[in-house]
Symmetry: D2
Subunit: 258 residues, 4 copies
């Protein structure tokens, strides 16, 4: 289990969101409160959209609380759409290539959760990735596989449909191998304009997911950044939050494709 | 605050002590129980005596639970006297040079605790280190300063006396600067034969220190490696445990030199 | 292109071979002389057989010349069969999981060279790896793929035959994709007793490979460890050197399976 | 010996200068041509002035050519005044705290060269650093000592005078210890507006230093970034180049204070 956040709004410096809140992601990396795993020290990453065609990414294997570069970068970088993720490995290696967010073209993706039985079905999942996408597979995580599979399901044209079909395909493979462990996911996908945050699980224990709309900005988080819970809304299980810069946010029911 | 252990006995593979116990040091690096700081993820180190003149040391900035090299090395290395330390920084950088145990000639030293007001008195403490010892100062911690000061107080000939005089000198500098924060220390010093483990503090809250004598071996630890507390004896505050390979262990009262 | 060495003989400390020679592997990591690529600074690794069932491995992403842990370990560790490898990436990431030697059960493998067109044919090569072996694939290199393929070709029972069939299969895939770049390899494979060092290429430029038999020991190296070339014998292209602890060394012609 | 560059002009993305030129700093990190040390793989750093009060810094121990984060950051970050440095250690550790540029308040400093006999006179040099500045000493290099000494000599009010007095003081200490090795330095100091690049040595072999003025920008480099040498002007030995954003550049004779 990991912890993550996303910010959408007028450009601000990253440290205002990543470092300064009472229950900041950096504090969560040491001691998360909405998670059975309290330490998220198995690497971290940041992704942000600036003025370039491609978003920037920064990955590091040290715990987020220990990396002075992160503190310096988050103090200098400003962005109107950025993501941050602290990792607690569910079995795969701690390496930069296994750190979120993952990037493909303009797309960023980050994930908290686990695909049940991944060690067993990894190979079947990888087989479904198109050749040209697979060429960019750098790590070994289930999260990266899921991200790459989205592209085989037409994520560029139809993100929610691709989400639905990809979850459906994963479930198919899990069934084929008689996996009884759950598939749990809170993930966030964006192309720099549209943002899709999914909360889903096959059991009754989906990872937590909250959001906080304000006048000119939106926060989407694994757990509230402060203790005033009343300011945060939970995304219900089997729902996807959809938003776009300068547009309304909706929370829609989500169903895996059959 | 950090966590550490030392093993003295017939040679065994390091992983038997570092990885295998119920409350192993690796588990303590994620979640220590006898400490206000639960995560000890700011680097770690191992020191061991083998067949060479000098002991070996291995330092790494990643959390101990994440380093596959440590797991491999601890599985291969056997030693009759070894130390391991997981670090929770009290302010100084996470770098290999700040990781314990520190080495000078045949001597190893590791420490849990803090010299109150260190940021203020660092310089005065460093001034007292002899030139030839100071040339080996590689990091910035209070622990390394203390270790180096021991050599200016004759640790080679009189380890307990040197301990006493060094603590006394640190207290002098603290007084000169009107430091009111406590000086707390559980530290272990060895030349490969004799072992000195000190529990000391200027307030009523010395860090914990335990030991477990068995037929052919001795363990000295920050906290018990298993839940059966009855097998472990606490070293009282202001005491120093002294032992030698193949010799008796004694726990002596300790007093800082005036 | 990388540089590597292997030692077989009576147990000695690793630094005697890795650090001390005039043209040591550490010096080669900064400035190799028998290679178009002079700097081998993209990570390194050591593998050694001790008293445990499994060999030890140590991998690090820093250049070998910069890692104090390597210097310390090589000074402490003694072994009668060990391997060391400094890496110059041919395209894949610098990560610990891409560092040689690779390990599977008792087997170690290290490689210098490149499979032509690997970025194109990676996937087809990976498809031929058996499921249970593939589950241990941690990195993304061609070297690791080749090592894993050896196990699908019966390396345990027939190492040279497996070498031959695996090279043959790689060539098949290269032909199927019309790859015109060469396949070049000097690799070393061992189970802790038998050692197989292959020099092979599809063009006229196989990487260099030398060996030096002495009274009680054998060195196999990418390039001589000293300037007295007369002490070193070149393994001819398309040949495999075979040796066993306490047994004779032979150099046999090698042919890829059709 | 190290390699470095500085850019002053209208804001551009860092990769345009750091990565794209024919003889870019990244290429120099693998193979420098104006230096006896060809590999500069002992860590690197970048410093840049943005919209914040303090400049940003990024330090990493891996070779610059290997760090994907650097490539990503340099592609995203734009600045009108930035520095980059690839390190070849002259003896001190490879750690982030020993990487240039060093920062103090608004000031950045980077250095190529060596203070002769540093291991011997380190302590006397450190003694001259004011307490409040010394509290920020994080590493062990001669470069950081020199930077900190500048503040004891009034660098804020009189940078060239401080440079002159600091060099003078270093020479005094060297004389006091009968150091016969040379003091060689090409260093760059800036507060975000004014820039001072010094080329100095006590022997006839000062490290190289070049600059290239263009319409709206200025480059100051250890060695030319392309093979068209005619576009680059050498700063003579014992001279300091002084410039300011949107102002003329002058190259002045430099003399160490007596």
């Amino acid at each position: 289990m990991c912890r993550w956040l996303a910010y959408i709004g007028s450009p601000i410096f990253l440290d205002e969101i990543i470092f300064e809140p009472e229950n900041s992601l950096i504090n969560q990396s040491r001691r998360a409160t909405y998670s059975s795993v309290t330490t998220n020290g198995d690497g971290f990453g940041v992704g942000w959209y600036g003025t370039r065609d491609m978003p920037g990414v920064y990955h590091e294997v040290m715990p987020a609380w220990n990396d002075k570069n992160l503190r310096n970068l988050a103090h200098q970088l400003a962005s109107g759409l950025f993501l941050a993720h602290v990792r607690a490995s569910t079995g795969t290696d701690t390496s930069r290539t296994n750190c979120h967010p993952f990037r493909h073209d303009k797309w960023l993706f980050m994930h908290n959760g686990v695909i049940g039985g991944y060690a067993v079905i990894r190979r079947d999942l990888e087989r479904m990735i198109p050749d040209d996408i697979y060429a960019n597979r750098l790590g070994t995580t289930d999260s990266e596989v899921f991200f790459q599979l989205l592209f085989s399901e037409g994520v560029v044209e139809d993100p929610i449909g691709a989400y639905s079909r990809t979850v459906g395909k994963v479930l198919q493979v899990m069934r084929a191998w008689d996996i009884t462990e759950p598939f749990r996911m809170t993930s966030l996908l964006t192309d720099g304009k549209r943002v899709y945050a999914l909360r889903y699980s096959t059991d009754q224990e989906p990872p937590s997911l909250f959001w906080q709309p304000q006048a000119e900005r939106l926060l989407i988080v694994s757990e509230p950044l402060d203790s005033d819970i009343s300011h945060w809304q939970a995304v219900p299980a089997q729902h996807v939050l959809v938003t776009e810069r300068h547009a309304d946010t909706v929370v829609l029911p989500f169903q895996a494709a059959a």
